[in-house]
Symmetry: C2
Subunit: 363 residues, 2 copies
């Protein structure tokens, strides 16, 4: 097709028709959702940061049983956690009253529930063997030899950045494109160092800055919910829009009933960045867990993903007690505009909306 001609350098590499990436959302973006998105012409994504090489390979196989299109596999590239038994023990006690309220007990101890990609050789070897079309990095970039190995295998690499400094590190690191993750975005903020000062750049400001300053293509993420939002970021010079929250309510996603109900309610109007659930800042629907977090100092929270061990246990206790408010209900600021449509139908709607984008005056 001749549409989106100026976006082709990136879209051709992704081997996808539309400037739309269904965002990786570990725990929510199922292989079924990714396959539906890819089959509809977007780039479907899965997040494998919370599993190991075997689990990831199974998810990729599940996708491939449903689609022969491009797939984006997202991995977490945080610095591996340093355990701190005293802090972790204190944290368990801090959470004990929350568990008690749910007639449950906290875990006796917390562990690093999954490995960072930077330390996971098996994951790299698996990816080099199965060669998804795209691998994307969050929380940083892996060692240069991992990136070059992936690229040599024909894999396109993307990296999230929340600032120009992070984007320049990713560009120098050799990635094919940078995802400008604005402050609006749901889920984990891609900040490389969770303890550094965060300029909290909004999607509009960050996308435009990166487009002006980088040589590689930029993908905009954060607060984009419809064709108008996609058209807007394309005007900013982005080569594609990455949308997560827009896909949460799709029937193909793994979002649970409590999450879907919250997203469809007035609760969608209030999201907040919290660190208490996982140990890293992430944007979540304001709920009981984020309210608990308001009085917590960052230094008291175990490192990511050790804190997430407790967070997942508390969520499980909540679900058992019929209380969905302890869930990791990751969502962006555009949440009130989420639509509950099958992914293919949603993407068809988005394309129609882009085609009806405003056109101003002679060019």
């Amino acid at each position: 097709m001749t549409e989106f001609a100026s976006l082709r350098p990136l879209l051709d590499r992704l081997q996808t028709n539309l400037p739309i990436i269904q965002a990786p959302m570990a725990g929510t973006s199922s292989p079924a959702l990714a396959a539906a998105a890819s089959n509809a012409g977007a780039l479907g994504s899965i997040g494998v940061g919370a599993t190991n090489a075997a689990g990831a390979q199974k998810m990729i196989a599940d996708f491939r049983a449903r689609s022969d299109r491009s797939l984006n596999v997202n991995v977490f590239c945080h610095e591996p956690a340093r355990t701190d038994p005293a802090r972790e023990a204190t944290w368990i006690e801090r959470l004990r009253p929350e568990f008690r309220r749910l007639n449950a007990q906290p875990p006796a101890q917390l562990t690093e529930i999954y490995q960072s990609f930077v330390a996971d050789k098996q994951m790299l070897e698996m990816l080099l063997a199965v060669k998804p079309r795209v691998v994307s990095f969050h929380f940083g970039i892996p060692p240069a030899q991992s990136i070059s190995a992936l690229r040599s295998a024909g894999v396109v690499t993307l990296a999230s950045a929340t600032s120009l400094a992070e984007a320049q590190i990713a560009e120098r690191g050799g990635v094919d494109a940078v995802v400008a993750q604005g402050y609006e975005a749901g889920g984990h903020r891609g900040v490389f160092d969770p303890d550094a000062a965060d300029d909290r750049l909004g999607t509009l400001a960050l996308t435009r800055l990166l487009v002006r300053r980088l040589a590689v293509p930029v993908i905009a993420a954060g607060g984009i919910m419809d064709g108008a939002g996609i058209a807007a970021v394309l005007q900013l010079g982005a080569s594609a829009a990455q949308m997560g929250t827009a896909f949460i309510a799709c029937p193909e996603s793994d979002a649970d009933a409590g999450f879907r109900a919250a997203l469809a309610s007035d609760a969608a109007h209030h999201t907040t960045l919290t660190r208490v659930i996982s140990g890293r800042p992430a944007r979540c629907l304001a709920n009981k867990f984020t309210a608990f977090g308001l009085g917590v100092e960052a230094a008291d929270i175990p490192q990511y993903p050790i804190a997430y061990d407790a967070g997942k246990a508390l969520n499980a206790a909540g679900k058992s007690a019929g209380e969905p408010g302890y869930g990791a209900q990751w969502a962006g600021q555009g949440a009130p505009l989420a639509r509950s449509l099958p992914a293919a139908e949603l993407i068809g709607t988005l394309v129609n909306e882009i085609r009806h984008a405003r056109h101003f005056g002679p060019i």
Copy 2:
């Protein structure tokens, strides 16, 4: 002209050609800047929140000596300050070491250095007499009878909103259009209640939400620095873009040399919301004053604008000592893209950039 036809309902009321509003910035947006902006086809604005009716009338006259085009006069509609002598005395002591570092003394006491428009009958009477084309409200809206009096006098009214809830209050209050002030925006955040929880909505998410949910036109503000940014917010459905930081470096602005130098430096990459300078959250270039504010609890700061009495004194002491880092260097997240051009030239450039906005596929 036939350009921007879909934007005409708002632009016709503003009696302006371009979907560009040079934002009111009290202390920076001089009558000369506003006149240059209006003469170039945009809507020029002055902020009169920090002066009284006589001062405002003089500024309007100054504008009118330079332009017969539309003018937007911005007023502050905060709840009038409640004095708290103990808190103010403690605050003076808290600032004393900063003054000492500059070989200066803090003021002996702090006063409410200017009135809120909601309590300033003379300002209302003056505006009803001189009838600027547009009056805009920040920090809330004035009583219904003030809005209806202005509208009956033929004045178009605008109000800033940072959330759907604030926007709906403004719409129900009868304003002609709402300025969606995103988190990226420089200067004072328009939050109606500075002590309430703030969802910190980015420009992209907020603008789209308000366009979808309001009946009145929406003007987008925050992080918009060039024609691509304007084209982006028009795609979101905004009827115009309001730009402040883009105009700070214009020679017609009242920005001082220290501010201009900071804006043109790497310092522009770091802005932060601070409450210590004025008593209300405002986005400022990260500087010595905002660094001081990092350790301060909101409850310790006198109410706006009482705290600003101390803040302005500290800035003056800094300037006398050759230290510009205590200035109220209000700037948005787009600051690295600021251009030092005369306002007319900047607006001409913006129009060219909009005309070269991307066009995707058939409509």
